[in-house]
């Protein structure tokens, strides 16, 4: 195998697999930009994956089969929004500590998805999933074509969402409000911004994206479902937000780095070089830490009020 095909293989597998992480991490970025730290991402993803899967599973042989994927994506997004709002109720309205509430949400989402799946479906089950949509023309470009232009619709949309979320965050009134309530909620409040509402919106957005990330896992990536489908990817997405310093472009970079490292380690194993494979499996995790340690920049800080509830009446 030539180096070029090796690289092209690694990339063409790694890039699509970054999508779920990317979507979830972008969602978490909106949460954190608004000052809310949501460790429950994992649970929302599990629900999203489950609901994304359900229509495809039940409608497989019905006349509605053509709409199953769309229905699944919508259901996943909707459930994500609802769970995001539930999290908002706990952390914004009742001001519950966010870390622990996040773990609660993770358990709730994961548990609900698993319980219902167990009851209505049973064991690991495949579905047709999202077809890949090679872009005419572009997908024929050698090397780059299969790498970048033969993915499914959700993947294109996810990558498209990187500039969109940049625009949303930095160029729209809504993004301005999100950033303001995450940095200095009291100032936003005195300027007539409804801090609670804005944080609810951010969490709904975060939930939506996490739900879609889940749906991508079951519909776009695995094309099947089992209750442990998320397998910690939600936590990795949260970590990637720190890696990406709350910026869509960096988050894209982090998701790609992680996924490509992942497909790289698999490719190395497949090549048959003899060494304990456990160390190969570790590679992406080690790499993320190392890259962050080497490129640290003290100037970049998180949203100043990250993790803190806001109460207008309280002085400190």
């Amino acid at each position: 195998m030539s180096i070029l095909t090796f690289v092209s293989n690694v990339l063409s597998i790694g890039i699509p697999f970054s999508v779920a992480l990317l979507l979830a991490a972008l969602g978490e970025m909106f949460n954190q930009r608004a000052g809310i730290f949501n460790l429950g991402c994992e649970g929302i993803m599990a629900m999203g994956a489950f609901l994304g899967f359900i229509p495809a599973y039940f409608l497989q042989n019905s006349p509605l089969a053509g709409y199953a994927n769309l229905l699944g994506v919508l259901a996943a997004g909707g459930a994500g929004i609802l769970l995001g709002l539930l999290f908002a109720l706990a952390t914004v309205t009742f001001k519950a500590p966010q870390g622990i509430a996040g773990i609660g949400l993770q358990m709730l989402g994961w548990g609900t998805a698993g319980t219902l799946f167990r009851h209505f479906v049973g064991g690991v089950t495949g579905i047709p999933g999202l077809p890949s949509l090679p872009i005419p023309g572009l997908s024929k470009i050698p090397v780059l074509g299969p790498m970048l232009f033969s993915m499914n619709a959700m993947a294109y949309l996810a990558f498209l969402f990187v500039p969109v979320s940049y625009y949303l965050l930095f160029k729209t009134p809504w993004g301005l409000k999100i950033r303001a309530v995450g940095t200095y909620p009291r100032a936003a409040d005195t300027m007539g911004i409804n801090v609670t509402k804005t944080r609810y919106q951010a969490l709904a957005m975060g939930g939506l994206l996490a739900g879609l990330a889940g749906a991508y896992l079951s519909l776009g990536q695995a094309k099947m479902f089992a209750d442990d489908i998320v397998a910690g990817r939600g936590f990795i997405a949260v970590a990637l937000v720190y890696f990406g310093r709350w910026h869509p472009a960096w988050i894209l970079g982090g998701s790609l780095l992680f996924s490509i490292a992942q497909s790289f380690q698999l490719a190395i194993q497949v090549m048959g070089i003899k060494f304990p494979y456990e160390f190969a499996v570790m590679l992406p995790y080690v790499l993320v830490i190392v890259v962050l340690a080497l490129t640290r920049s003290s100037a970049v800080r998180g949203p100043a009020e990250l993790g803190k509830a806001y109460d207008r009446e309280k002085r400190i």
Partner: protein
């Protein structure tokens, strides 16, 4: 006699929280077609009905207390350590390896050494995240999440390779597990026929020691100051970075010790799946207990009850195993919300004023009614 506003307030909020928790779980149970009331009855009462249930609750509480204590130290020092899961694994490995290497020592000598080794294993793993944060400025949430995965692989590597039970290779079953620890490294059971072991005493003693460490020693003062106000602490001459590192070392040591106690008290050999999610439940227990040993101990008992009770519903009510998670999640979300509302002086102030207005109105209504 009218109840005092404070009691009424707490009662009402708690009731609302219970209704919310049961409500969330009830939705899922209703979809399954299970009986909501019976399910909760099983969870909350069944484990307490016999000595077996009660001891199993305590068995779960032991690692939860230990991990929770470590989490309390790190959170109090301003580090969000979610790496207990990995630290537990490293503790198990270190403890098991030590016990296996020193089979000849008498229990009274060996057990402390094994505990220390476990603590050390966890401490080393914690120190990595501590160093990354204190010296290289790597966010600890990121590093601890990643280190959990790395630890899991390292653990698997050691159990499949260097530490595997030779019998597993000989008979060909090849299950990744170490040899059985020498009997001199077993923690004794307290009540024969149950799994309750003396690790509970270790956990309770350490709870007292952690209280002393955090609130009665200069090191505790330093670490809490660094966590509560890093800037002021630095101005006050406290080496904040040192405190962060120390906190992570201690948190790791506690998680590692939890692993050591679990392997010597319950499993008696290093196998996969020992931790059973204690690393995350331990965070919940610690926060639930207000990051204070006096709260962590009861909160660990409560979560032990929840785990055992929910598990029982699987067999008694044929409810899928994942329902445990739904229940835990619903309970966590509603109880912490209620706790915040109960402790919010502003909300209580509004409540008690509304209450007194109402009572006044009632009274004046009554008196005018009487005079009329």
């Amino acid at each position: 006699m009218k109840p005092s506003p404070r009691i009424l307030y707490i009662a009402l909020v708690s009731l609302a929280a219970a209704v919310a928790a049961i409500g969330i779980a009830a939705i899922v149970l209703a979809i399954l077609g299970a009986n909501v009331f019976d399910t909760f009855k099983v969870i909350l009462t069944e484990p307490l009905k016999d000595i077996f249930g009660i001891t199993e609750i305590l068995v779960r509480a032991i690692p939860l207390i230990l991990v929770g204590l470590g989490i309390a130290i790190s959170f109090r020092s301003g580090i969000l350590n979610i790496g207990a899961e990995g630290q537990i694994l490293m503790g198990i490995i270190a403890a098991a390896a030590t016990a296996i290497a020193l089979p000849g020592l008498p229990k009274i000598v060996l057990l402390p050494i094994v505990f220390l080794a476990g603590a050390l294993g966890g401490a080393v793993w914690g120190a990595i995240a501590g160093y990354l944060r204190a010296v290289l400025g790597v966010n600890e949430i990121l590093s601890t999440v990643m280190l959990n995965y790395i630890a899991a692989q390292l653990y698997g590597f050691l159990l499949r390779g260097p530490m595997i039970d030779p019998a597993e290779l000989q008979t060909g079953s090849g299950t990744p597990q170490s040899v059985r620890l020498p009997r001199s490294a077993w923690i004794d059971r307290i009540i024969p026929g149950t799994r309750l072991h003396w690790g509970i005493a270790v956990a309770l003693v350490l709870a007292v020691l952690v209280y002393i460490l955090l609130w009665r020693t200069t090191w505790g003062f330093k670490m809490r100051a660094a966590g509560a106000g890093a800037k002021a602490a630095r101005y006050g001459g406290i080496k904040v970075e040192q405190c962060l590192l120390m906190a992570m070392v201690l948190a790791g040591a506690f998680a590692g010790l939890a692993g050591a106690v679990e392997v010597t008290g319950v499993h008696r050999r290093a196998i996969e799946g020992i931790s059973s999610g204690y690393g995350f439940s331990g965070i919940v227990v610690a926060l639930f207990g207000g990051l204070h040993p006096a709260g962590i101990v009861p909160s660990a008992f409560f979560f032990g009850l929840l785990l055992i009770g929910a598990d029982m519903t699987q067999r008694m009510m044929s409810i899928p195993a994942n329902m445990v998670l739904v229940l835990q999640g619903a309970v966590i979300l509603s109880i912490i919300s209620a706790k915040m509302v109960i402790n919010d002086p502003y909300a209580f102030d509004k409540f008690s004023r509304a209450l007194s207005r109402r009572r006044k109105k009632d009274e004046s209504g009554k008196t005018t009614g009487e005079t009329a």
